[in-house]
């Protein structure tokens, strides 16, 4: 269970990007976070694994407080949080297998990492997951030779290799064409069920959010203004989340959202 309480993030001395935000994600639900650019979605996700340092508030994952951790303890906590990125963030010049294994870096010995001699059970798990998402035959290919959808599958497998307790996905489909994008959403949804994993997805596409997730959280100006089942997302609610120009929202928030 992920429990976020009174979370504030402020860059410099400007208007906070996240304003006293509370959010709880339980069990194996797939939650989507929607909102216009600059609403603070990406910052929220990055606060959870501390890629962005929260200004104040508390984030508790399965009983462990994340906001106070440093050094080794922080790395141990990050191992338990998988993340999938909008631009895949693969290492282009490494093979698909090495990219997938980089999800195990928190567990691997330094020698195994340097020599690329990975433990048998890790390799087995990697092949199983790659088989599952349909990229096992690319194991020896360089990551930059793959198509967008395949690259995102590598990104997903990399996150799952961590054996995470929660999966964060930061606009995982924004760089993909509509068809591939639906495949990836379906994959995330299925994997959540198979691996009993809560998933938190930032997403721009409201149709996909409604179709593939159990719960929708709507953000605006760094606050959650909607949190309910997809069916409850009415025209009025949409209007409240998205009205006005995104640029005005950005100006209001005082900052550009990190993407």
């Amino acid at each position: 269970m992920l429990k976020i309480t009174d979370l504030v993030k402020r860059y410099g001395s400007g208007e906070p990007v996240l304003k006293n935000l509370d959010l709880t994600v339980e069990g194996e639900t797939v939650v989507s976070v929607i909102g216009s650019s600059g609403a603070g979605k990406s910052t929220l996700l990055r606060c959870i694994n501390r890629l962005v340092e929260p200004t104040s508030g508390s984030i508790v994952l399965n009983g462990a407080e994340l906001t106070k951790l440093r050094g080794r303890e922080l790395r141990m906590a990050r191992r338990r949080i998988g993340m999938v990125f909008q631009s895949f963030n693969l290492v282009d010049r490494l093979t698909v297998m090495e990219n997938v294994m980089s999800g195990r870096l928190g567990y691997l010995s330094t020698w195994a990492a340097v020599s690329r001699r990975y433990p048998k059970e890790d390799i087995r798990r990697a092949f199983e997951l790659m088989e599952r998402v349909g990229i096992a035959h690319y194991a020896d290919n360089r990551a930059d030779g793959l198509s967008g959808g395949e690259r995102q599958r590598v990104g997903v497998v990399r996150a799952l290799m961590q054996q995470p307790e929660i999966l964060l996905a930061d606009e995982p489909t924004a760089s993909l064409d509509p068809k591939t994008s639906e495949q990836i959403m379906q994959l995330l949804r299925d994997l959540a069920g198979e691996l009993k994993l809560p998933v938190l997805i930032n997403i721009h596409n409201v149709t996909e959010a409604k179709q593939y997730t159990d719960r929708i959280v709507g953000m605006r100006y760094g606050r959650i203004i909607f949190d309910d089942a997809p069916a409850a997302l009415t025209e009025d609610a949409m209007e409240a989340i998205y009205s006005g120009s995104p640029a005005a929202d950005r100006a209001g928030a005082g900052l550009k959202e990190a993407s």
Binding site: A77, R79, F85, S87, L90, L94, T110, A113, Q162
Partner: protein, 280 residues
């Protein structure tokens, strides 16, 4: 009157729109004046240099004849010592190759220290930059003078001298490449809970490998040239017999050695172009 002013200066408003202009010039009067000032300064610098440099002008007028004389004495090249020349030529290649190999290995950690995004803290950043600057600013010959004093005359001093000079060159270019990498994979691997070392190993090193090889090849090419002069201060290579031949006025042999050096450098460029095609 800086260059910046020249660039920023807008064209002045056309005076008197009433009559048709029959004059045109490329630059506005102010730009023109600035150009003249820059040119005048250059001319003054040259005039100052010419008037105050300590040369005997008779020698200057004599120089072409002296040069002609020298080249006359070099012809025809004397290849009787060719075997010895080729042997030291091989030494020269060895010095350049070994020194480059050691230097690129050593420069990788130095580059990591000197790059803002990989250095552990400010102290190490300045340490890295200090190593690079001192290595780069001191010429190979000066390094060689120092190491000949330590190791005695010979190739060892040459190798160490070239190595010391190369670390700065390779490290600087590599450090810049590290600072310019795509930061997104780094973020992704940090998010997996990997240690700093493993993040560098998996997300940064693969990204800078092409630069690493390109810089190593480039430096090898430069080092071939540099190692031809090490011998002049006693640090091994072909320079030793060149110096010997010059000191004993064996000009035909000097000609052979010079031709050998040209051949070596051209061969080096061919090899490095081939390597670049193969590896990159």
């Amino acid at each position: 009157m800086s260059l910046q002013d020249t660039l920023r200066d807008p064209a002045p408003a056309t005076p008197g729109m009433a009559h048709l202009r029959d004059d045109w010039s490329r630059f506005s009067p102010r730009q023109k004046m600035q150009r003249w000032v820059v040119m005048l300064l250059c001319a003054l610098a040259i005039a100052w240099s010419i008037s105050s440099i300590e040369v005997i002008w008779a020698w200057v007028w004599d120089a072409p004849q002296q040069m002609g004389d020298l080249f006359g004495r070099m012809y025809p090249p004397d290849a009787s010592n060719l075997a010895a020349i080729l042997r030291v030529l091989l030494d020269t290649v060895n010095i350049a190759t070994v020194a480059t190999a050691i230097a690129v290995v050593v420069s990788l950690p130095v580059a990591l220290l000197a790059a803002q995004n990989t250095t552990p803290n400010r102290a190490t950043l300045w340490l890295g930059r200090f190593i690079l600057v001192s290595s780069r600013s001191i010429n190979t010959i000066i390094w060689a003078l120092l190491f000949v004093a330590i190791f005695g005359p010979g190739a060892v001093a040459g190798i160490v001298a070239i190595m010391f000079r190369s670390i700065g060159f390779v490290g600087k270019l590599l450090g810049e490449a590290i600072e310019e990498i795509d930061k997104r994979p780094v973020e992704a691997l940090e998010a997996t809970g990997a240690t700093r070392f493993k993040v560098i190993l998996y997300a940064i090193v693969p990204q800078v490998m092409p630069t690493f090889w390109a810089v190593a090849i480039l430096r090898w090419d430069i080092n071939l040239r540099e190692s031809t002069v090490l011998g002049l201060v006693g640090a091994g290579g072909i320079g030793i017999i060149l110096q010997g031949a010059i000191d004993t006025f064996r000009w035909p042999e000097v000609a052979t050695i010079l031709l050998a050096i040209v051949a070596l450098v051209i061969l080096g460029e061919i090899v490095s172009a081939w390597l670049r095609r193969r590896i990159l």
